[in-house]
C-alpha cells in the first residue's frame, strides 16, 4: 500500500542508524504509524494519555538530574540516575528541536528491574505518541511503564 512520501521518509530515518545506533524501530517489521496506533490503543485501554506519561517521565528525570550522575531515591520504591553524553539529537520528525543526550535509568529497588529513557524519548512520546519499535533498546512498553508511573 502506498505511503505518503513523508511517512515513507520518516520510516526510513527511524530505521536507519543516522541518529542512534540500531535505529528506533528495533526489529519491529511494522510501519511506524502502525506502532503508534497500537500503542495509542494500549494507552487508551489503560486510561492514560501520552501527555500524562510524558509529564511523569519529565518529573523523574528532573529529580534524578539533581544527583549529578548518582542514584537518587524516588518515592521509596524506586531509584533513578541520569547520565548525559556530549551532543544533541534532533527529533526524527521534521520539525524544530534538539534534545540533549540525557538518559534516565529508573530502578525498581525491590526487583532490580530497570527502565530507561532519554529526553528524546520523552519528546517523541509527548508529541508523536511514539514509544519506539519492539526490540529497540529504548522501547518502553506502555503497559509496563504506566504501572510504575501512576
Amino acid at each position: 500500500m502506498k505511503q505518503s512520501p513523508n511517512d515513507a521518509h520518516l520510516d526510513a530515518v527511524l530505521r536507519s542508524s543516522a541518529l542512534v545506533a540500531g535505529g528506533f524501530m528495533g526489529d519491529d517489521p511494522r510501519r511506524v504509524m502502525e506502532v503508534v496506533d497500537a500503542d495509542a490503543g494500549a494507552l487508551f485501554g489503560l486510561g492514560v494519555t501520552t501527555a500524562q506519561v510524558a509529564q511523569r517521565l519529565k518529573e523523574i528525570t528532573e529529580r534524578a538530574t539533581r544527583g549529578l550522575g548518582t542514584w537518587v531515591e524516588i518515592d521509596e520504591q524506586y531509584e533513578a540516575m541520569v547520565d548525559e553524553a556530549r551532543g544533541l539529537l534532533p527529533c526524527p520528525w521534521p520539525h524544530e528541536g534538539y534534545y540533549p543526550k540525557r538518559v534516565t535509568t529508573l530502578k525498581v529497588v525491590a526487583s532490580g528491574r530497570t527502565f530507561r529513557w532519554s529526553d528524546l524519548n520523552i519528546h517523541m512520546i509527548e508529541a508523536h505518541g511514539f514509544f519506539e519499535g519492539k526490540g529497540s533498546a529504548f522501547r518502553i512498553e506502555p503497559a509496563e511503564i504506566v504501572g510504575i508511573l501512576f
Binding site: R66, L68, G69, D83, E84, A85, P94, P100, K101, R102
Partner: protein, 367 residues
Amino acid sequence: MIVSTLIAVLVVSSIGAALAALLALSESYIANYGECRITINDERELTVQGGKDLLSMLTAEKIFIPSACGGRATCGLCKLKVLEGAGPILPTEEPYLDEKERASNVRLSCQVKVKGDLRISIPQELFAIREYRARCTRIVDLTHDIKLFRLELAEPGTMDYVPGQYVQLLAPKYEKNSEEVYRAYSIASDPAQRDVIELIIRLVPGGICTTYCFEYLKEGDEVRMNGPYGEFHLSDTDAPMVFIAGGSGMAPIRCILHHMKNTNSRRKAVYFFGANEVREMFMMDEMHRFESELPDFRFVPVIAKSDASEAWDGETGLVTDAVQRGLQNASEYEAYLCGSPGMIDASIKVLLDLGVKDTGIFYDKFA
C-alpha cells in the same frame, strides 16, 4: 496490413523517442548549472561545477566545515554565512536557524545548493582544521564503561592544537550502523607529543560512535578524524584554577595538566573529580604523579556513596558539595568545567555563590 502495423509502431515509437529526446535536452539545459564562483571572505575564490550542496563543495576543496550528519540536515553544525546567492531558506533548514541567524544570512551549508555565484564568509579558525588518518595502537580499559584510545597520527603526521580542544572522530559503517557519522571527543593526550592523540571515551547506550569504539575498533585498526575544534583552553593569567570534571570529562583537564607540566607553570590548581562509586575512579596514579610534579596541584576525588566494602577515606557526596566545602578564597579563582550541562549548571551556581567571577568561569559543555 503490414504497412499499417509498421506505420503504427513507427508513429508511437517516434512520439516516445521525441519526448525522451526533449527530456534529455531539458535535463542538460535546465539541470545544468554550469561553472559557479564561490568567493570566501572576499579574498579567496573557488570555481566549481554547480549542482551540489555547498558543504560537499567546500569539503572537496579541503575546507572542513564541522558536520556530524553527513549533509542530511539532522545536526545543524554546518552553519555558514552566505552573503549572496543562496536563494530562499528551505524547510529543511528552518528548525536550525533562529531569528538572529536568519537576519545575518546564516544558512546550513549542507542544504544550500550551488546554482550560481556565491559569496560566503567562513570564520578563520575553520581553516586550521584538517582531516587526519591515524592508527589505533592501544586501547586501555579505565572503568567498566570508559576506555582510553591511543591514536598515532599517520597522515598528516602531527597535529597542532591548543590543550582543551576536541576532534571529531569518524564512526564508519558497521553492522548496526548504515551511515558514517562524526562525534566529538576532547583530546586527552600530552600536547608535547604532536604525533599522538589520546581520547577518553565513555560508552553511551545507543551511541553510534561509542558502540563502534567499544565493540568494533581493535588495536591496529585505522581511524579517521578531523580537527582540532573548540574554544575551551587555559587563560593567559596567573590566577589559581579549580577544575571540575567527572568521567570522560577528565580528558581536556588531563591534556591541560600535561601542558602545565611542559611549560613549568607555577599556577595553583585544584581538581575536583566526581564519581558514583569507587570502581568508577580511574587514572588515580597519574593524578597523584601530577601532584608531585606540579608545584601547586591538588587532586580531590569525590565519591557519591561509599560502599562499606570498599575502603574510602576521601571526600563523599556530590562533587558540587565538595567544591563548596573545599574552596577557600574562591573569588580569586578561575574555574574550568567539563561535563554534562546538568553538572555544569550546578557547578556554576555553587561557584558564583562562593564568589567566583562569572567572567572567570570557562566550560566545555558536552552539548
